[in-house]
């Protein structure tokens, strides 16, 4: 009889604590805003997991605390507890039921993954390049951006490449993350559903400035997106034409800030991951092999396209990714900018 009373109290307490734990966790709003179609199944599964967590937490902690209160040794009490060695049927039960839960959860998980991976053959394709320490987004219309613009409610397929080490593309509001592996094209599909500003942050440690490897993302309407793409493509074409004919340090400075040069090369003479650009033009650059080279157009162009060809003394080779994607005109702009840094 006393056993029945214990178990009734326990069952009630476990039910109450489960529900309260779940409601409490739910009220905390555990996940950030969901801004992509892929977030929906993930959040659904996460919610199921939180329910399981709440239940199993109560299932263990309630009887544990209950035992500590009810079965504690009272003052003056002597002797041992009841001699109960175990129960095979109980052990089989609490092996078998979790096993069933695991198998079902695995099935749900696999199905959930399939929903997240759903492919839209009409997806917008954008090339993403991760490097130490920044992101670059290359649009098939022939221009490059430092901000990732995406049209809302349309699947984007990002073809991701890394020019140096492992990186990982993660936007918390999109939920899904995926690594960038040097030498490979990794596919990342996302369908933004909420217009707004987000940030992609590198989630795989990639060296000193890993924390700062972030870029803005703008999810905009399809009309705005089309307009933006057309505008960027036109600007890029015009700039390329103008630069070849007439290089401009202003455009060079903009490129310095946006293409990622700034992360490693200072323009005030301070030492960074790479050598400073201040006073670079026309100087004799000491190389790792002991020789020197004149910093002229040929040297700078080569160092941008193939950075390890001539390594500056005191700096490690392979530290800089190749910027071979820059057009001749853009490099001419950069050189004009470097010339101004006396």
């Amino acid at each position: 009889m006393q056993n029945v009373r214990h178990f009734v109290i326990l069952a009630v307490l476990i039910a109450v604590v489960s529900v309260l734990t779940y409601l409490g966790l739910d009220a905390l709003e555990l996940m950030p805003v969901a801004a992509a179609a892929q977030a929906a199944p993930i959040d659904w599964l996460m919610d199921l997991q939180v329910k399981l967590i709440a239940f199993f937490f109560a299932l263990i902690v309630v009887p544990l605390v209950y035992s500590l209160v009810v079965f504690r040794r009272k003052p003056g009490e002597a002797g041992d507890g009841e001699h109960i060695e175990g129960s095979t049927s109980l052990e089989v039960t609490w092996t078998f039921i979790p096993l069933v839960i695991v198998v079902v959860l695995g099935y749900i998980g696999a199905d959930n993954l399939a929903q997240v991976k759903r492919v839209d053959p009409q997806a917008v394709e954008i090339k993403v390049v991760g490097y130490q320490w920044g992101w670059r987004f290359e649009y098939p219309e022939g221009f490059v951006s430092n901000t990732l613009y995406l049209p809302v409610n349309k699947q984007a397929v990002l073809k991701m490449e890394s020019s140096d080490v492992l990186h990982s593309f993660w936007v918390p509001e999109f939920r899904v993350k995926h690594d960038l592996v040097p030498g490979r094209v990794e596919i990342y599909r996302i369908t933004p559903t909420l217009i707004g500003d987000y940030k992609v942050r590198c989630a795989e440690i990639c060296g000193a400035s890993h924390a700062y490897m972030e870029s803005p993302i703008k999810v905009i309407s399809q009309e705005e997106y089309t307009a933006w793409v057309n505008e960027q493509a036109a600007i890029a074409a015009a700039e390329a034409a103008a630069a070849l004919a007439n290089p401009d340090p202003k455009r060079g400075e903009k490129l310095y800030n946006e293409a990622g040069c700034k992360a490693c090369h200072s323009i005030d003479g301070s030492k960074g991951v790479g050598p400073t650009w201040k006073g670079l033009w026309g100087s004799q650059v000491p190389l790792a092999d002991g020789t020197t080279v004149l910093a002229d157009e040929a040297y700078i162009t080569e160092s941008i396209r193939n950075p390890s060809a001539k390594v500056h003394q005191g700096f490690s080779p392979n530290a800089m990714p190749s910027f071979a994607y820059l057009k001749d005109g853009q490099i001419a702009d950069l050189i004009e900018f470097i010339k101004t840094l006396k």
Partner: protein, 686 residues
């Protein structure tokens, strides 16, 4: 301890502190002087030279032990290590010079990378020769015989030199583990101060510029991970070494010299590992993923080599333990009459014996890629960076079961004593350890769900990972059922056992969301994982480890740790840990990436991080209370030599501390280990 020896040890301790100070200043001065000589002038920022400070600490530590011991044991080992390292460096440098290769590299602290690696390896072997861990084998090789048992030097000095007694070795392991726990904890406190607020404000004070501060953050974070892992490996080796022979009625481990070797090889490994901070550190995290690792400062080579050398300790220790349990059990101790901690130790040793090679191999391959240009992980030359991750996790996932299984064994071992009831479902609990160990071998790729590994393989790895929940669940249910209808008492060891159960539950329950692939795509590499992992480590190792120390301290020393201070320790650490781990999970879900030195203030994480930093300091304070408790108890004249906890286990049937060769007469097992509440039953007949 008599009054006279107390005052003489106080005297040598004061001398040791003085020598530590002098040594540190000498080493620091030498380092800064060298830097100034090489650069041709002194600059105030040299005072922030981390390599010089590390040199200072090395010389200071040497001075400390010299002041304490004179030229004996560990002092000889360290001196040999320093000389061996220099000899190795100079040998490679001389060979390179003779071959006309470049041998001086100012970017790599003067010498070629190969010289540093070879030097460190020679240093490790020299340490073992110097400390005397190879002496008997060397004599045998020469045809000389040595006594089977060496008498230990009397008093506390025996702990600082080679001893073949498993109890001495167990304590050596445990104390070394606590030291590394403090070092790893100190690293964590340093970077937690930096994280208390967004922006960089603390580490920039210690370093000359922002890049150096970021690199220092990465080095501290990486070293926190690996130093804690080595600390845990030594801690469980300490518990296992001290207890398993006592629990099974053996006079010692099967191979006492190998046992001593396994401990002593970990000491130069720890020196090399910490030395990485003096050689530029490394920025890869303890995972050391290629290709970032191929570009890291040479500190990463010391990290690789330190882990590689420490791996020998794990593999050989596990071999020894399995041989001991298989061959040296007391009469009547059948498999299902072994204490549950012995089962857990065997399960953990199976993993250590067979998986440690894989982390050694992956690190060795990365090391060779840097030294000899073998492009194992370099895509441009046909290598594959994902291969590193597979090899690395094939050990490093099972390794977490190495860390927790002995702790879960301690929980299962102590619960019956304090509930005064048999362990519920003993056979199921025993076999669940083996089950976890075996399933643990099949789950490694769940660390790689976002890595670009084969897409379809992710599903079988999800199933195998979820499967671990089943044997783990058996343990939890059995623990709760053990408490049911007991007569529960809760002195300090039991508090840590109960805390361990709840904290490990938190770690266990936060596991399945990482196992199901789609949710892991969000959670991977965030603070959620960091929180989950710290819960499993605290619940599965830290709490049970402290429980074990409080519980068996009287066995080892004949003195019982102070209950009031023990309760302070517990009630400071537990709530602080809950704040730390739950807040980690909270910010992780909301977008806090792991391994970042700084975070976007727009995310609004500042108050959460401040709370975590305060919690981390409270945990550190609680550990200081624990250290104070140990010192105070050891100095107190009050003794406790009897069966303090009223246990049935054989080691408590003889007076404490345990005599040198354990039991005077072999005992016989005549009953079940945990038959509390069965009148007239005993486990062993002495």
């Amino acid at each position: 301890m008599s009054h006279a020896s107390t005052s003489s040890s106080t005297g040598s301790f004061n001398r040791a502190l003085l020598f530590f100070l002098i040594g540190t200043l000498l080493g620091l001065g030498l380092g800064i002087g060298l830097h100034a000589a090489v650069s041709g002038g002194f600059n105030a920022t040299y005072l922030k030279d981390i390599p010089s400070w590390m040199l200072g600490l090395l010389v200071g530590t040497l001075g400390f032990f010299y002041g304490l011991l004179g030229y004996y044991g560990i002092v000889r080992g360290l001196v040999f290590q320093v000389i061996g390292t220099l000899a190795g460096i100079l040998l490679v440098t001389a060979i390179r010079a003779a071959m006309g290769l470049p041998f001086f590299d100012p970017a790599k602290f003067g010498f070629h990378e190969g010289a540093w690696v070879f030097g460190a390896l020679v240093g490790a072997v020299s340490f073992l020769a110097g400390v005397g861990a190879l002496t008997d084998w060397w004599k045998w090789a020469k045809g000389e015989s040595t006594p089977d048992h060496h008498e230990d030097v009397p008093g506390w000095r025996k702990y600082f030199g080679v001893s073949l007694d498993h109890k001495v070795i167990g304590i050596q392991y445990t104390v070394t583990s606590l030291l590394l726990l403090s070092v790893g904890g100190l690293f964590a406190l340093l970077f937690r101060v930096e994280l208390a607020e967004s922006g960089l404000q603390f580490l920039t004070v210690l370093t000359p510029d922002q890049t150096a501060a970021l690199n220092l953050y990465n080095s501290l974070m990486s070293l926190h991970g690996i130093v804690m892992i080595i600390s845990i490996l030594l801690g469980i080796a300490g518990v296992i070494n001290y207890l398993v022979p006592l629990l099974i009625g053996a006079a010692d481990m099967a191979f006492p010299r190998l046992n001593a070797f396994s401990f002593w090889v970990a000491v130069p490994a720890a020196v090399i590992l910490l030395g990485s901070l003096g050689l530029g550190g490394f920025d890869t995290g303890w995972t050391g993923y290629a290709p970032l690792a191929t570009r890291a400062p040479i500190g990463i080579q010391m990290f690789y080599l330190g882990v590689w050398v420490a791996g020998w300790s794990s593999i050989l220790g596990a071999l020894n333990l399995i041989a001991t349990v298989l061959r040296m059990r007391a009469r009547g101790m059948t498999a299902f009459r072994m204490p549950i901690l012995v089962w857990a130790s065997v399960a953990t040793s199976i993993i250590s014996l067979t998986a440690t090679q894989l982390i050694g191999l992956s690190f060795q391959m990365s090391m060779f890629e840097r030294l000899f240009g073998m492009p194992f992980f370099n895509v441009a030359k046909g290598g594959n960076p994902i291969l590193f991750q597979h090899l690395f996790w094939f050990y490093s996932h099972p390794a977490v079961y190495v860390f927790v299984l002995p702790g879960l064994g301690v929980i299962s071992e102590l619960l019956p004593v304090f509930a005064r009831k048999p362990l519920f479902g003993y056979r199921w609990v025993a076999l669940s350890s083996i089950g976890i160990a075996l399933v643990g071998f099949l789950v490694w790729a769940h660390h790689m769900f976002t890595s670009g590994m084969n897409e379809y393989l992710r599903v079988p790895f999800m199933y195998s990972t979820l499967l671990v929940a089943v044997p783990t669940g058996v343990k939890f249910f059995s623990w709760v059922a053990t408490l049911w209808k007991g007569k529960i008492e809760a002195p300090t060891p039991m508090l840590f056992v109960l805390g361990g159960i709840v904290v490990f539950l938190l770690g266990g329950l936060s596991g399945p969301p990482n196992a199901t692939v789609s949710t892991d795509l969000h959670l991977h590499d965030t603070y959620f994982i960091v929180g989950h992992f710290h819960s499993t480590m605290f619940g599965g190792y830290v709490f049970p480890f402290f429980a074990a120390i409080y519980y068996w301290f009287p066995k080892a020393t004949g003195k019982r740790l102070d209950e009031t201070l023990g309760k302070w320790h517990f009630w400071l650490m537990t709530p602080a840990f809950f704040v730390l781990t739950l807040f980690m999970m909270r910010v992780g879900l909301l977008g806090m990436r792991r391994r970042i030195a700084d975070y976007d203030p727009m995310l609004g994480f500042d108050p959460w991080h401040l709370a975590m930093t305060i919690a981390a300091f409270l945990i550190a304070l609680s550990v200081l209370v624990f250290f104070y408790n140990m010192v105070k108890t050891l100095r107190s004249p009050v003794t406790e030599t009897g069966n303090v906890w009223n246990s049935r286990s054989p080691e408590w049937q003889v007076p404490s501390p345990m005599p040198a060769h354990n039991y005077e007469k072999e005992f016989e097992v005549v009953g079940e280990p945990y038959d509390y509440g069965l009148p007239g039953s005993v486990y062993v007949k002495m």
